[in-house]
């Protein structure tokens, strides 16, 4: 059993919880390999995917996970602009609450929103990304994919490369990886590395060549094109030159480097296509593990340990 009712942050999630979710994740991976990829575990449970922000793959991944656990699934999408039309966040959520859902999977642009709705509703809350705060299910599928590849977290070195400041993936990854004993280095332009983050037990290195040389695996973050031209990233070609995980850089390494990316990839910007498609890339495993891991999380939150 997990130590918390909701799945909102990995900040204080104990190692035992992380390992339990990973192990169960692999059991569901097996289910996904079967001809009929469905189990009756969450039959009769209602899950609402409440997305206040656009998302294609996270929502699809959750929806597949929910359906394969036989839950009843509803979707609600609202662009963040519609939130500004007068109805308060609390009203929106309480309207949904009276319709009696067992679990709400929420994506929202504002940090803390997942924690906040636990005060307004009784449902179990799963954070599917709250602004640039956390994205704990993504971090869980990342650590599951690392474990699948390396079979251990011992002595593992992982680098997270790119725009750490605006990423929702970075913080959850840092919490999960450091709890599991993994050494973490962050690499990116200095002004895109948030103040004081080294206090969370990670190192910072602005030199990508040194970092690639050091790491066993790299998690390459997507550079959002909307960050260009507002003084944060001067141009795509400059970013690629300084921080791109390019074919040349990877080929020059005297070792194998495992490549991860939360998607969607800007090919030729933060990551070269050849590298993304190489044998050392586990990017598509991440996607598959994403469904299995979300099944694992929902199973533990909603079924309270019934047989799979």
């Amino acid at each position: 059993m997990l130590s918390s009712k909701h799945f909102i942050s990995l900040k204080n999630t104990p190692k035992e919880d992380l390992m339990l979710l990973i192990e169960t994740g692999f059991s569901f991976r097996e289910v996904l390999e079967r001809p009929i990829k469905k189990v009756p575990t969450l039959s009769g449970k209602n899950i609402l995917n409440l997305f206040f922000e656009n998302s294609t793959r996270t929502r699809m991944s959750f929806e597949l996970a929910e359906k394969r656990l036989s839950a009843d699934v509803s979707n609600f999408s609202a662009s963040s602009s519609s939130l500004n039309k007068g109805e308060t966040f609390r009203d929106t959520v309480q309207n949904i609450q009276v319709m009696k859902v067992d679990c709400i999977v929420m994506r929202h642009p504002s940090p803390g929103s997942s924690l906040q709705i636990t005060k307004f509703v009784d449902s179990i809350i799963v954070n599917a990304g709250d602004g640039s705060h956390e994205h704990p299910t993504q971090a869980m599928l990342d650590v599951m994919s690392l474990y699948e590849r390396f079979k251990t977290f011992k002595n593992l070195k992982v680098a997270i490369i790119g725009d750490i400041l605006h990423s929702r993936v970075a913080l959850s990854n840092i919490y999960a990886l450091t709890t599991l004993g993994v050494e973490v280095t962050l690499c990116g332009p200095p002004h895109l590395i948030p103040v004081g983050i080294e206090e969370l037990g990670v190192s910072i290195n602005y030199n990508i060549d040194e970092v690639l040389d050091w790491a066993d695996a790299v998690n390459v973050l997507r550079i959002q094109r909307e960050r260009m031209g507002i003084g944060l990233i001067p141009s795509i070609r400059e970013y690629r030159e300084i921080y791109g995980v390019t074919k040349d850089r990877v080929e020059n390494l005297k070792k194998e480097l495992v490549i991860m990316h939360p998607g969607p990839i800007n090919r030729g910007v933060e990551l070269d296509g050849d590298v993304a498609d190489s044998d050392n890339s586990i990017i598509l495993d991440q996607v598959l593990n994403g469904v299995a891991m979300r099944m694992s999380i929902l199973y533990h939150l909603l079924s309270k340990g019934d047989a799979i």
Partner: protein, 432 residues
Amino acid sequence: MIKGDKILKGKWLLVGGKIYDPFKEKYLKGNILINNGKFEGLTTDSVASGDINTLDCSNKLITHPFIDLHAHFREPGREDKETLESGCLSALYGGYTTVCLMPNTNPPIDTPELIKFIIDKTSDYPISVLPIGAITNAQSGKELTEIGLMVKEGAVAISDDGIPVEDSRIMRYALEYSKMFGIPVINHAEDVFLRSGAVMNESVESTKLGLEGSPHITESIMVSRDLMINEYVNGRLHVPHVSSKESVEMIRRYKKSYDTISAEVTPHHIYFNDSHLNSFNSNLKVAPPIRSEEHRLSLMDGLRDGTIDCIATDHAPHNIEEKESDFIHASCGMIGLETAFSGSYSALSKQKFSIEKIISLFTSGPCKVMNIEKKFLEEGSVAEIVVIDLDREWKVSEDDFKSKSSNSGFIDETLDSRVIYTIAGKNCFINQ
């Protein structure tokens, strides 16, 4: 109509307690006798006889009520959040009998007519309401208001609080022009470009919460600009809600050679640090933001050595809808009048501030800044008395507030001390 919980008709004797005069900085002996709301004298009688009623003040501290330099009541415009009447009630229950009101209402108080509106509407309240006029028309930062005419109607200072005066030339003119009226210019010091969309202080705490942070230099950059302009034109600058160490150091440096600078700090900036935001409590979302422990301690050092003259509340009521939206969209500000003394006392007594010094930060300190003349217990004058229980613990609850709003970061905090009685003339306001 504002009325006390008890009307002190006839003669009343305040029995027991220690009486402290913050203006003369001395303790007085005896028991206070008031007659139909006027101070009649100190007597050695402790037993009331005949027609005299008694108010038990034993083991309490009795002193002059407080003066707030920085409150936002929302009238005119947002009376759903706070009216002049509800704000004044909140002040009275917090131990205040004088409040200076910031002009950022809707419309902003930027004309002599609007100053008069505030004065007229509050003239029969048992509390002095002193309006502050806007520096620029509609707080747009572009043209100076009719400062002279506003002062004539009763404005005690000028400020575009909530919005910084970005244009240095306008700031220069405001400081230079208002010299002839002898009033302070109060500028909300924040470099809005550096702040950008920030919603809290920038530190490891904002990193942990994934919230955009505003670096502390956002404030000190503008404070230093204001200090330089002020020195250049020999003006009268008051720095509101100082929040950072660098600002304190800058003010300290200029104050050494220059006595026309003053500054205030809020109770919430000396009580909380930014790690308190870890549960995304939007009641702690304020402007300037609550900063890290290092800054909190430096603010108290500033109070200790006189760099910061007084404590002012920045009482900023918001309705629940605006505070219960998500953190990014929640409005900035918290109410403060009712918790100001207890919150400050809790923070400052832990730093070994004497009770006399703490009282001065609420009385003689703000009076000096705003050039307000007050006397304590003058025979024949209207009674203005506050009675404080320094030994009482107060676990603050949402239901305690007399303000129309309850957006307080102090809810659920256990504070040392509580204001028990505020006596304003015949009205006695009582916190049970």
